[in-house]
């Protein structure tokens, strides 16, 4: 947690930290003409903007009443304009509201799936590294098996087996996205296990569980948070992909995958707005999550956090 302390220091008194960093021989862009905000502030700002945008979409979508994207045949295929900012589809439904609702649905599924998946990752990663032996080998085998299969195939199988719908997609994504994080955390814990302070704790008679809770978990927390955030774009993309292929959410729920597959049939007749705006919104959400994840990584990492 020393990185957290440093970051607080930094925010409270940037000049002092700058000075000490300078004294330690670091190069600093402290010269005339340097940007208004320093790197850390900029990172925080971007993260905040991305966060506000995504949170806004999420809340808007959750609070949106179904009437907002109800069938309205008089507005069939209305191009983007004042009445419908993103146009209307083949049943005259407002595309903006459907996109927002769809993205919010994706976020809910993504959040749940990412939480479950990262939870599995942490539990398996920490326990495998601390236990070692056969159990460790088994976990690694599981990781290899899961990573060896194409994500989408496994996802389709699991989702189909669980009867599709939101539950199928959610569990499908949750059960396929843990291997990377497991591997990462296991490696991290292996390193920590050899650290002096954990070995000292062990010598002082702490149990394996106590060591895991008091020494290891706080250290892998930043890794976990970054992993969680970076799981999001994957989860959302995969949710949209299997829904697009017809193995995910049913066609009557507003979801980006559904919207895009419906739009497919109307592209040949020039209804470009049916695919463009939902595609852009999906792309924006995915990129913004990536921005947040990358920024968090650089903030939470003790070395890049001070650049």
């Amino acid at each position: 947690m020393f990185s957290r302390k440093l970051s607080q220091n930094h925010r409270q008194n940037p000049s002092r930290l700058g000075y000490s960093a300078g004294a330690a021989g670091f190069r600093r862009p402290d010269l005339p003409g340097h940007p208004l905000l320093n790197a850390r502030q900029r990172v925080v700002l971007y993260t905040a903007i991305a966060g506000v945008y995504l949170l806004g979409i999420f809340l808007w979508g959750l609070l949106l009443r179904p009437e907002a994207y109800a069938v309205h045949y008089a507005h069939k295929f209305m191009p983007p304009g004042v009445t419908h900012l993103f146009g209307a589809d083949f049943m005259g439904r407002d595309m903006l509201c459907r996109c927002v609702k769809g993205l919010a649905n994706s976020l809910v599924i993504g959040l749940t799936a990412a939480l479950i998946s990262s939870g599995i990752g942490v539990i398996l990663g920490v326990s495998a590294a601390l236990t070692g032996g056969l159990y460790d080998k088994l976990v690694l085998l599981g990781v290899d098996c899961c990573m060896g299969l194409p994500h989408l195939v496994l996802l389709i199988l699991i989702s189909f087996m669980l009867g599709r719908g939101a539950r199928g997609v959610m569990l499908g994504i949750a059960l396929t996205h843990w291997p990377e994080l497991t591997r990462l955390i296991r490696a991290e814990v292996l390193q920590l296990r050899e650290a002096l302070f954990t070995r000292a704790a062990a010598k002082m008679g702490k149990t394996g569980f106590q060591i895991a809770r008091e020494h290891i978990l706080p250290h892998i927390f930043p890794v976990y948070i970054v992993g969680l955030v970076l799981l999001f774009p994957h989860a959302i993309m995969h949710e949209a992909a299997i829904t697009f292929l017809g193995f995910g959410l049913p066609a009557e729920t507003p979801a980006i995958g559904v919207i895009l597959s419906e739009a497919m049939g109307h592209l040949a007749t020039g209804k470009w707005w049916l695919a463009l705006f939902p595609g852009l919104m999906l792309a924006a959400a995915v990129i913004l999550f990536d921005v947040i994840g990358e920024n968090l990584k650089s903030l939470l990492n003790p070395i890049s956090g001070n650049e």
Binding site: V71, K76, A275, V286, I287, D290
Partner: protein, 556 residues
Amino acid sequence: MKKLNWQKLIAMLLISTFASLCLAGCGGGGPGGGSSAGPDPSAAAGAGVAPDESAAPDPGAAGPSSIVAYVGTTIFDSGLDPIKGAMSYGYPFTNAALLKVAPASTYGGDLAVAWTVSDDGLVYTFDLREGVRFSDGSALTAEDVVFTYETVRERQAENESADLTRLAAVRALGDYRVEFTLAEPFSPFLDTAAILGIAPSDAYDSETFDHYPIGAGPWRILQYDANQQIIAAANPYYYDKAPAIDRVTLVYMDNDAALAAARSGQLDVVMVSPNYATETVSGMRLLPLETMDVRLVSLPTQRSLERDGQATGNDVTADSHVRQALAIGIDRETIIQNAFNGVGRPATGFTGNLIWAGGLVYEDNRKAEAAALLESAGWIDEDGDGYREKDGVACEFDLLAAEDRYGLAAALAEDAAALGIKINPQAASWGDIAARMNSAGVVWGWGQYSPTVVRSLFDSRGAFSGGFDNVVGYTNPRVDELIDQALAQVSQEAAVAAWKQAQAIADQDYPYLYIVNIEHCYFVSDRLDISLDTQIPHPHGHGSPIICNMKDWTLK
């Protein structure tokens, strides 16, 4: 560092946008996803030279008159082997049957010139046309007919369209007469005679016939590329007038790719969904063709009850007042306008182009009358949410729709809301439908020449059987009796009368909500005449029925 990040960001944005557009543009695309369809139809269209000219020497000779058509993909779904139930719609393609459907939906002779039925309805005798040859030049005789029927009966499991379970014996009486003996009277046997194409006894090969059947129909297959294209040429030995067009290439592609291909002038016939009915293609005209295909919604007639682990019945639709209110209250014209761009005709029963159709005919959009009917039955909107309730039960049911029928389900739900009936349209796979069809509404499509559909819909003995028969659980002893009578009739007229009566009685209980008699839309090139006079009303399966009279098509 920051600069790099921005570049990365912009690159990612571009890639993602491109990827999502690609996803929307060509997802689900089969081998012919591109606009020019895998095998490049223009090659075959241009000079009329097929790729395998040498491989298949054809006396029909590829002249300049060839066309390229997209008639949907159903023709590619199963093989072309008549023994396995291919092309079983009552019109000949590669293999001709004993009978065929005439433009007025009555049966006429094809390979048979005359037929008689014995007084007990058990013996059918067909006199064959003499001098008919298969596309390999061999003569078609009674022996081939016997072979075909016996093979199908032995391998009935492979053929679901020709039901020969009642056939006791078939034998040849000389070269040109065949006698069928049935185990019990079965008046729809003539339908079977019209859908089962005859295969040659000597040349039949279960493997090659899937793609290269030999038959006595007007066409033979030059080249078959699974899920890509079928190239057919005129059968030089066809007994009737030879087709005016020498060569037809049926291509496999997506609906939207087909429209794009039509716009670039590569296709002469393009099946389109009603979604595209408002489009225009230069050099082509849009033809909505008459069908016998109706879309109807099954409304479970019994109260909910679990039978053998399967939910059956529905407490809302079990009330006949609800079913009747829907039938007379919905506005079919508006629904068709909303769901199908106005393509299709309102239907309150099976279509008049079927000789055995005899449902009720009534005015719809009688909203006030329907509301009164619901109120008299106790369905009243007490909580003011716009939908009715009765004894705490909301007037609401789920409506399952497969594939492209979701639009119709949604349009119906929209219109039924005005009656205070809440219909929840749900897109479902056929697997989902099979699991819930006995307890929820389902959008069905029925359209066939055989009146056995009446038995499928109304016979109480088929209820909850697990198949798609009588999913509503309709039970009426009088209707069962009439169905038995119809099946046992010797004369076609008496059978038709019984079928009509059975429908008239059953439809008074409104177990099915008929909505629309759809029309099959095609863009047809201005240079091509598809002989509208000899088109038969299309049976179920949008796409291939347009080729029913392809031998009469001419190029200008």
